[in-house]
Amino acid sequence: MSEAEVVNMPIAKAINEGLRRAMADNDRVILMGEDIGTLGGVFRVTDALQAEFGSARVLDTPLAESGIIGSAIGLAMNGYRPVCEIQFDGFIFPGFDQITSQLAKLTSRHDGLLNFPVVIRVPYGGHIGAVEHHQESPEAYFAHTPGLRLVSPSTANDAYWMIQQAIASNDPVMFFEPKAKYWAKGDVALEGEPLGLHKTRVARIGKDVTVVGHGAMVPVLLQAAQVAQSEGTSIEVLDLRSISPIDYDPILESVRKTGRLVVAQEAPGSVSVGSEIAATVAEKAFYSLQAPVLRVSGYDTPFPPAKLEGLYLPDADRVLEAVDRTLSY
């Protein structure tokens, strides 16, 4: 891959570029959502796409999430590949029935004779100081639902490629965008062969403790690893990338090496993706684990008012506290 093809850009822009390329490549790809057209989305992720592709491919919809997902299903039935934007994580729930009882089940209801290549983009997570319903991490609801795929990029390069891979998938894909990192820049290789959509990535090699997370958690984990290094602890950081299915091989491989695992997530910990990883690793790596798998999560409360989000959201300190605890076994 030549250097000329590498461009430094923020994550929001990388998604925008990925969308643009997917739309240019396939005229059945359409975008739908609230305020995604003229405005380019409240986070400007779809900026300029309506001007380029027209309002028959970048559709501002009426204000109704069930309507957005339900219509996307009908569009998919006629060969379209709709990419729906949910404006904020907390507003996905009015569309919940269409996602879980319809979209997730329709491939099997049709015995695989029809596909439902619908992408649902969800800007998710905290750290933006916003009001209620604007900072949530609802991944667990969908990860529990058979028939959906869930992914979440943590870098600009992944954002660019994974949105295209999600659109190319013939299955429904929920695409969780770490909105607090929309403006975080990174190098994007515009050409080349990306990592598989559902692959866990080793983000930093270490040997004492494994930590795993996705989205906006990954930079926190890397920061924790940095701090730990200065204190003599070597942390291996895994970027989950795919929340459903989970690519367990790299996690198990790492745990077999370190014997210790900390799972970090912004979502409430009970019945969460972290619970699943902890349960599965504790089962599959039973003889390798030298300490219980520890979870660092949002508390089991509604996402608090912004002034408390710093306490609520796992930061490097909380990750390190758990790392220290696993080392104390």
């Binding site: 069930s66 997902i69 491939t107």
Partner: protein
């Protein structure tokens, strides 16, 4: 005070089968011109065979061959009239009671029964042209209305592209598509958010769509008065859909108004709505006991308005002969046998089927669990043979 003056529901045939179009019907009379005796007889046959099918399925359920049956008895007029107005290129999104429509569109009725025997959640290949674009039944009340709207929107997008245009601005007029989408649902379903959102989206994008509600007066045990204080067709008018109430037990009314509205929809006239006043003569499903919640007089009253008997009288007056009716009766008997045979010989899915189509693409969890189940099942056989 009434806020709107409701016209009479469109009616051509009186309950006694006399052709006597009321005032509301006049505007649609031209739609019937193309119906010759052959066509009328075909429509009669549609209704009669569907009823025979329903009777057979009810029997099969009673005999323990089906977990459940959902009869359409009494609603055949509304269904057949509208389905016969649809063109081959139209798409149809049913609820779960539209057996007459399924048959007309080419679906093998044995496949409609499959989900009630517990062998599938679907039953037919919706991509097979032989099935007339008849989509799967949907059991979550009202949710198919949005799928239909999305499908109809895709028809608009296709037409937009074909016209070489790339925009679909807010407030744009409807566009000629030459195909339409019909969605069926019940009176109870009109209370669901999804059905209302479907009308809102349809109006917004001016989709080529016909919303067809069979107001059969009941949602299981709940009377329509609990869902709506005003005629349901007015809701659609409020959303800006063209909306008309018809005598749903008059197959000619159903045909004529559907035909007109579908033509209008295909020509770019935007979404349309029909409220067909009808009645569910049987139980909600075979699990239901309607005597618990409704009066026998009501049933008798509606039995007197039966869509089949009414139409029988009419086509006799138009020249249908005894031999025709004898043939239909024979066909009905044959259909019943075919259904029974098909149901009794319906294959049970392989265990592995559960995992096969959850995803369109490879999925490690499906592969792992399917393999596990196979090993597990084999362990018993091994154990047994050991």
């Amino acid at each position: 005070m009434p806020w709107v003056q409701d016209p009479q529901p469109v009616q051509f045939l009186t309950p006694d089968g006399d052709f006597a179009p009321n005032e509301s019907a006049q505007a649609f009379a031209a739609e019937l011109e193309s119906l010759d005796l052959v066509a009328l007889q075909e429509m009669y046959r549609d209704m009669a065979l569907t009823r025979a099918f329903d009777t057979e399925c009810t029997n099969l359920q009673r005999q323990g061959q089906l977990a459940l049956w959902v009869p359409s008895v009494g609603q055949e007029g509304a269904q057949v009239g509208s389905a016969r107005a649809a063109l081959p290129q139209d798409h149809i999104f049913p609820s779960y009671r539209e057996h007459a429509v399924a048959r007309i569109r080419g679906v093998n009725l044995v496949n409609v029964v499959a989900q009630f025997r517990g062998v599938t959640h679907g039953g037919w290949d919706v991509t097979d042209p032989a099935h007339g674009n008849f989509h799967l039944y949907t059991l979550v009340i009202g949710s198919q209305a949005l799928h239909a709207t999305g499908f109809a929107l895709s028809q608009v997008l296709d037409a937009t592209k074909k016209a070489g245009e790339k925009d679909l601005p807010a407030g744009a007029q409807g566009r000629e598509t030459n195909e339409a989408t019909i969605v069926y649902f019940g009176d109870g379903a009109t209370s669901q958010g999804d059905v209302n959102e479907a009308m809102i989206f349809a109006a917004s994008y001016q989709t080529p769509q016909l919303f067809f509600v069979q107001n059969n007066k009941w949602a299981i045990s709940v009377p329509v008065e609990r869902q709506a204080r005003t005629p349901i067709y007015r809701r659609a008018a409020g959303f800006g859909l063209k909306s008309i109430q018809i005598d749903g037990n008059d197959i000619l009314a159903s045909y004529a108004v559907s035909n007109r509205m579908l033509k209008d929809a295909r020509a770019g006239g935007g979404p349309q709505f029909i409220e067909a006043l009808t009645y569910r003569i049987g139980a909600h499903t075979t699990s239901d006991d309607p005597t618990k919640y409704r009066e026998n007089e009501e049933l008798l009253e509606w039995q007197a308005k039966d869509p089949i008997r009414r139409f029988e009288k009419y086509i006799k007056s138009q020249g249908a002969e005894d031999s025709f009716f004898e043939q239909v009766a024979a066909d009905a008997g044959e259909l019943a046998l075919k259904i029974r045979d098909g149901v009794l010989h319906m294959p049970v899915p392989e265990p592995g089927a559960m995992f096969k189509h959850v995803y369109a693409e490879e999925h490690p969890v499906m592969q792992g669990q399917a393999a596990w189940l196979e090993r597990y099942e084999n362990s018993f056989e091994a154990g047994e043979s050991a």
